[in-house]
Symmetry: C2
Subunit: 267 residues, 2 copies
């Protein structure tokens, strides 16, 4: 068994992805959970709008996984500005000041959300071969998604100008019960549709909890990668986002796949 050689700090550790990583990372890493408010689990409390507090917490950390954000698709501008713009800049700046070697930034597939809106449900059909990757020009579908484009650009700047390696993971859908067939309707265009019609889209974006942990583990361990933007989904039957770069650059090997249909129980 590996010794816990790296100290990983997770911002927004109280969220859905934070809970997944707290469980999945506890064996291999020394974990620091950063949260905005006190939690039932052990955490350090700091608001990411407070640069000085972040610098204090970041000292001695090997990698920051930055999950904290106003994450609702309909989050109002003020919340996006404080948490996702100011907060994300603070995370990169604090990492620089505290000499943290790496920041893993939780971006989102919603940076291409309008590409999906325009393509419609045909995009998720099993025979559709179209794939989008990190070179597809962004088309954010929300202020939230605009803020993720900003975060990626800020990360690119910090990785280019300072000794900081940055990996941006455009996350798909991580579910608390880990079952794509039980996904709640969410807030999007398809929220009013029955599961059978919503499912192809959910399937396309599903990221299982163990694949999520594996992907972030790959990011933490990729000491040779100075900069990358990758997509984060499981190896689903039909997905519009390419996993090629995550596989090639990070060695990410997803082991899960969403079932083709919501009525299939095996996966």
């Amino acid at each position: 068994m590996e010794s816990k050689t790296k100290t990983i700090l997770i911002t927004g550790a109280e969220g859905t992805v934070g809970a997944v990583l707290r469980r999945g990372f506890a064996i291999n890493y020394r974990l620091i959970a950063l949260t905005r408010t006190p939690q039932p689990f052990e955490s350090r409390v700091a608001d990411i709008t407070d640069l000085d507090a972040l610098v204090t917490e970041f000292h001695g950390v090997d990698a920051v996984i930055h999950l904290a954000a106003a994450s609702a698709l309909n989050a109002p501008w003020d919340a996006v500005l404080d948490n996702n713009i100011v907060g994300t800049r603070n995370v990169f700046e604090a990492a620089r000041l505290a000499k943290v070697p790496a920041v893993i930034f939780a971006s989102s597939g919603h940076v291409l959300g309008m590409v999906e809106e325009e393509a419609g449900n045909a995009l998720y059909a099993l025979e559709n071969k179209r794939e989008f990757d990190h070179t597809t020009p962004p088309r954010p579908d929300s202020l939230y998604a605009v803020s993720k484009v900003f975060g990626e650009a800020m990360g690119r700047y910090y990785s280019d100008v300072f000794p900081l390696r940055v990996i941006c993971v455009r996350l798909g859908t991580i579910l608390p019960d880990d079952d794509p067939r039980s996904a709640s309707p969410g807030q999007g265009r398809s929220a009013s549709l029955p599961l059978e019609e919503r499912y192809p889209r959910i399937r396309a974006k599903w990221l299982s909890q163990r694949d999520c942990c594996e992907l972030f583990r790959c990011c933490v361990e990729a000491d040779h990668v100075r900069w990358a933007v990758v997509f984060g989904t499981s190896d689903n039957p039909r997905q519009p986002w390419s996993l090629a770069k995550a596989r090639q650059v990070l060695g990410y090997t997803p082991v899960d796949a969403a079932p083709v249909s919501p009525t299939v129980t095996h996966r």
Copy 2:
């Protein structure tokens, strides 16, 4: 002679580009100059951090040309945040609220600044055929440039989701005396070099004042264009940025070109 059928509001009308457009646009358009402080010329005073003030000024306007920004490459984060992030979002939001049909956003070639840094001066050599365009992934060289990536993403979002057409112009170098051979060293990597060595880079990015006016005129008149990102330079002997999209989509036809060498007087 055309009648002045369109009302154009210019933010940051007190700057270098603003002065060029105030002169060049006065014949064909009803101009409203918006400035942060009172000026020797007729202007309306409003700070772009004040959304309500912008909405008031934007009523009845046919197009907003958004130039106002903290434009120094070394502008500190607080200035970038207030003027370029909050201010630019306010301009798009005020345009939506006041039902302005179009926003022309002054972006910058610095969104690809680190691509240039990496390529070095060979990029500007007359035999170098490499061209970057709107599909080249951004590599901002400054917080200023990060904010321009943000502004483009915000513009993309507004153009996709609301009835607003948005054109982003990645401006080159507009000079007060309009002569690329007299350009001051600026703030970049090449500031300490003699003119002969700096010149290829200046030449590559030069945008003459009349080409600048023509490009913005094309943007204002392009009622068929819902969204575009274009580069803004004159037809210089060697430039790394493609003008193809500006020519094709907007009908931009530059008439000026920087001389090949700073010792050539004819252009």
